[in-house]
Symmetry: C2
Subunit: 627 residues, 2 copies
């Protein structure tokens, strides 16, 4: 079919951008007149912009070094006469960081407009406030998925080479590393410090404007939870497509078209899902968010079935894709079980807490540990089922593993198909969280606070679900990437005329060595970031104490007396970027060292170790935190 | 050399028993006259005996079922005409549980005698008190290692079949599961409850005799930390020998003799190490414990080198063994770094705690996460080096992996060689911990308390080190067992005339499925145990509250008024056994389910997942706890 499918994908991506623009203008049209809120949103936006600018600057330097290394070494050393190919890799890499950065920037800009709109709209009731929050978040969802689909398609059309798409994916990963980890340090620093001095020490409300860290806290929600989460899911989405394309390219046939079709239909389904999101006048926001997710899922199943029928794709691969989607939804629901306050785990922990804080920690951690089971088994079953479904498609036995791995990568594509909806729901959370804070700062009264509280609560519940989903999707994607890695190694080996690798055998001590070290790295990475937050929060707590001590009338809330918000933002920004670098370097260097010592086999084990421990600790931490 | 080496091993084991008997008599000879202490030790001993009896009864039922299953199915289904072999497996299995149980019982009896002796001896100064505590612990060390060497040797001599030794090892594992998990629930229930109501709520000292849970707490130290830890290291020690024997049997030559020689020399080195343990009149107990560990290590290196020279063993295998030992020591030292109060991590956490308890948890968990790195890398390097050292020994390339795996199993044997010393140090901890409590209950005065505090502190530091060592040794052992598993599968396949397995390939979705589920199981197992502790502790806290409320004069400490200690012991005992069963069943059933779904490949992945997540979480939890 020539490139029709790819042009269709571009069309869908542009449709998503147009829809995002429409949503943006709708949000912008909503009234926002309260001067205190306007002033606070200006401060938040300025803080977020400053952070993003500084973060992108650090990233640019990193990407510059990476680009040079890519030019010299990837996909083949440049002295082996592959200069043009290497240049394409660099271009794709830079594109990957750039597209992701732009999507993050768009999301952030809208989020910092939507938060104030949602706060003011709450005066008219829950319905307009919900819509402002949700549509603000949906801009991010559309921008992220539109940009990822557009980027992958352009790179593929320009080069017809899946390996180059991996370069684009690597760019997205670089940005995600910085955005997620840097934004994470920022938001947690501000969050902990603001709560600790405000709520715990002084007993003032959560978003009290006297608290010098309150604006930094709101900035954090935006740079960490909006831009960071967006970059993360941009990365997963691109990676799932890239992995599927690498394997589809190796198989030939209409498999490449299938990847694009299914990815584009996922975005289309998300657009429809977002359009149908509605809440009654006294409606339940959690139900509204979940309902549109289910709409998206159903539409996706129907559309992909139709496409499979129309374009004569293999039904078994469609099955693998739907299994991935179903497992994603199930994992989301299981996360909900562990974090929803109407379910047993939260009740148990609340009950245990009556015997003292030791029991809160003990039972909270226990349920967090328990919660890893459904997701681990779910991902395992998804991989297993996709394998069983797709292995019989192989025309000859030597291709069984290839087809099976393609099936797994399509399960990942399926799980990520509704990512547009997921990002929308996810960005909704920090927007209404901010709206709640702004309502308090703007003195909008208890009734409005009640409404924003309700919206915020829905945001927290949905957030836990989308986080579980994001972790599972990342896990399955990385499994697919592992397949792509082996496929790439074998292609390279064939070109060099040496023997490729047929497996990563656990009994091979090289693989095992890589596996053990690889399992340690995500844990150590988390530890370094947490220690970074710790150090940074101590600096900020000291600054908050200083302000309450030195600024006369601040604690008492004398009119006209204001804290120096920018000092706290400055501490969070500088600290986040400073603390991020050692952790990032450690992760990258560890990979090189392991590869240098143990070669390709050790790297295979290393990646596998990353997956296992990354999944375990991500699920444990995210769910016990949510709980 | 016929069976000379094996007879020599038996001789060394008997020597260890004789030495243990001498130590036991020495401890028994120490004076113990304080009536309050005598009464308390009687209570502790009675409580520990009751728990052990009940635990062994539950275990006996479990072992009965397991024995029937083994008879029917292992090593081959009985209807395939292997009845005699299967009977031997059952006998070995029962032997394994029995030997471990007896060693645990001996250790416990001595520990509950030594605690009171150590308390009273503290009136004469630190030296006699240290000796009473250390020699009491050394009885356990000698009994555990003597019994494991004796058992393995007898089973091997009787059957000449390494597979049957695996049956012995399985018996040891069954007991370890119950002793470690059941004892663990008991000790943590009592520990948390006693501290929470006593120290935190009422502000009374840690071992105040008014606290109804104080005796249960001391019983817990003995059943959890003495008997449980002993069973655990008995299990690891036997498993390392069994794995090495399976692989040595497959290789032929003098490799079997080498395993026995090296294991026996390890015990001999430990005997010498224990004999040399001395402390000056005002000496430092930590230094004394470490010094004897170094003596053991040095003696072992020299003895094994001499044996290798004398018996013409391969120097490369000796090298693998020594690498294992060296890595074990390094891991122990790194654990020390993370848990010693003179080192940076403890200082950082203490400093961070000044900003509030949130920072204690945050930084404590962070350092706990960080602490996994040295051990994971260390075990990886040990496996890798052992492979590199031993692979060249293979007479033809098809045996490379076999030799490499034998090297790894010998690294595990090397790491566990000093286990006699480790168990001695480890059992010293709860004995002097108890001594501290008894000194308080016996009103021995502040000077004596100061001395027991010093001894207890050394116990805590050394405990963290030995725990790190135990985890690392278990990890390396299980890697060796994985090799034994593959070797057994291939032997069985060859007998059935079907194709064996040559690898556990991560890219095989069966293996991957097993890997993910396997990684979840240790985490879920821990969670279930922790929730069990949580439920149990809530019951005990309620009981303590009841006693303080209903027993007139208890809180005020009126003379003659005593709490009902036995009620708390009863709660801990019943609860521990009740909470243990679901977790144990889950772990066992999960293995069967995975094997049923995915066959041998999935089980291989499953075991590998167990290793990775078991290591990660064991290191994380143990080190952050120690910190």
């Amino acid at each position: 079919m020539g490139n029709i499918i790819q042009y269709g994908s571009i069309l869908v991506a542009l449709l998503a951008f147009a829809f995002a623009a429409w949503l943006y203008l709708w949000v912008k049209r909503q009234p926002c007149e309260n001067r205190k809120i306007l002033k606070a949103t200006d401060l938040i936006r300025a803080g977020a912009r400053t952070f993003l600018r500084k973060e992108y600057l650090v990233l640019a330097r990193f990407a510059g070094v990476a680009a040079v290394l890519i030019f010299v070494f990837l996909p083949k050393p440049v002295w082996q006469g592959s200069a043009l190919h290497n240049v394409w890799m660099v271009v794709a890499y830079v594109f990957g960081t750039g597209f992701s950065a732009v999507a993050g920037k768009i999301g952030l800009e809208v989020a910092t407009i939507a938060n104030g709109r949602a706060a003011e709209a709450a005066r008219q009731g829950i319905k307009p406030s919900f819509m402002a929050g949700f549509r603000g978040g949906a801009v991010m969802g559309m921008a992220v998925v539109g940009a990822s689909l557009l980027g992958v398609t352009i790179v593929y059309l320009a080069t017809k080479d899946p390996t180059t798409v991996l370069g684009f994916s690597f760019g997205a990963s670089s940005l995600a590393l910085f955005a997620k980890a840097g934004g994470g340090i920022f938001t947690k620093t501000a969050d902990i410090s603001a709560d600790l001095v405000g709520k715990v020490e002084l007993g003032i409300p959560e978003d009290d404007p006297r608290n010098p860290a309150v604006i930094a806290d709101n900035v954090g929600d935006n740079v960490g939870d909006v831009a960071g989460m967006g970059a993360d899911l941009f990365d997963s989405n691109v990676a799932s497509m890239a992995a599927a394309l690498v394997m589809a390219g190796a198989l030939g046939g209409n498999h490449v078209d299938m990847v694009f079709t299914f990815a584009a239909l996922g975005l289309l389904a998300s657009i429809i899902g977002v359009m149908t999101a509605r809440i009654g006048k006294h409606g339940n926001p959690t139900r509204a968010l979940n309902a549109s997710t289910y709409v998206t899922t159903t539409v996706y199943v129907v559309l992909t079935a139709a496409a499979t029928y129309l374009f004569h794709y293999a039904w078994r691969i469609w099955g693998a894709c739907i299994v991935g989607l179903a497992v994603g939804v199930i994992i989301g629901l299981s996360t909900d079980y562990f974090t929803d306050d109407s379910k047993k785990p939260v009740h148990f922990v609340a009950h245990a807490s009556a015997s003292g804080p030791a029991f809160t920690i003990l039972s909270g951690i226990s349920y967090g540990l328990l919660s890893v089971l459904p997701a681990m088994v779910g991902i395992g079953v998804a991989a297993f089922t996709a394998y069983k479904l797709c292995a019989p498609l192989a025309p000859d036995p030597s291709q069984t593993v290839q087809y099976a791995l393609f099936g797994i990568s399509m399960a990942a594509v399926g799980m990520l198909s509704i990512v547009g909806m997921i990002v929308s729901n996810d960005a909704y959370g920090p927007i209404v969280d901010n709206a709640r804070g702004l309502a308090e700062m703007g003195d909008l009264g208890d009734e409005v606070l009640g409404i924003t509280d309700q919206l915020d609560c829905a945001g927290n519940t949905v957030k836990a679900v989308t986080k579980g989903f994001a972790i599972a999707a990342a896990g399955l994607t990385v499994i697919a990437l592992l397949g792509a890695f082996m496929s790439e190694v074998n292609t390279a080996a064939a070109e060099l005329g040496v023997a490729g690798i047929t497996n990563f055998d656990i009994m091979n001590p090289m693989v095992f060595f890589g596996l053990l070290v690889g399992a340690a790295i995500p844990v150590v990475f988390s530890a370094m970031l947490m220690l970074g937050v710790d150090r940074n929060a101590q600096r900020m707590v000291a600054e908050i104490h200083r302000q309450f001590k030195e600024i006369v009338g601040l604690r008492e809330g004398h009119p006209g007396v204001e804290p120096e918000y920018d000092k706290c933002i400055e501490i969070a920004t500088t600290g986040a970027l400073k603390e991020l670098i050692p952790a990032g370097l450690m992760a990258i260097l560890a990979t090189f060292v392991v590869g240098f010592i143990g070669g390709v086999s050790a790297i295979g084990g290393f990646l596998c170790g990353n997956i296992v421990s990354g999944l375990l600790f991500a699920l444990f931490m995210s769910n016990s935190g949510g709980l």
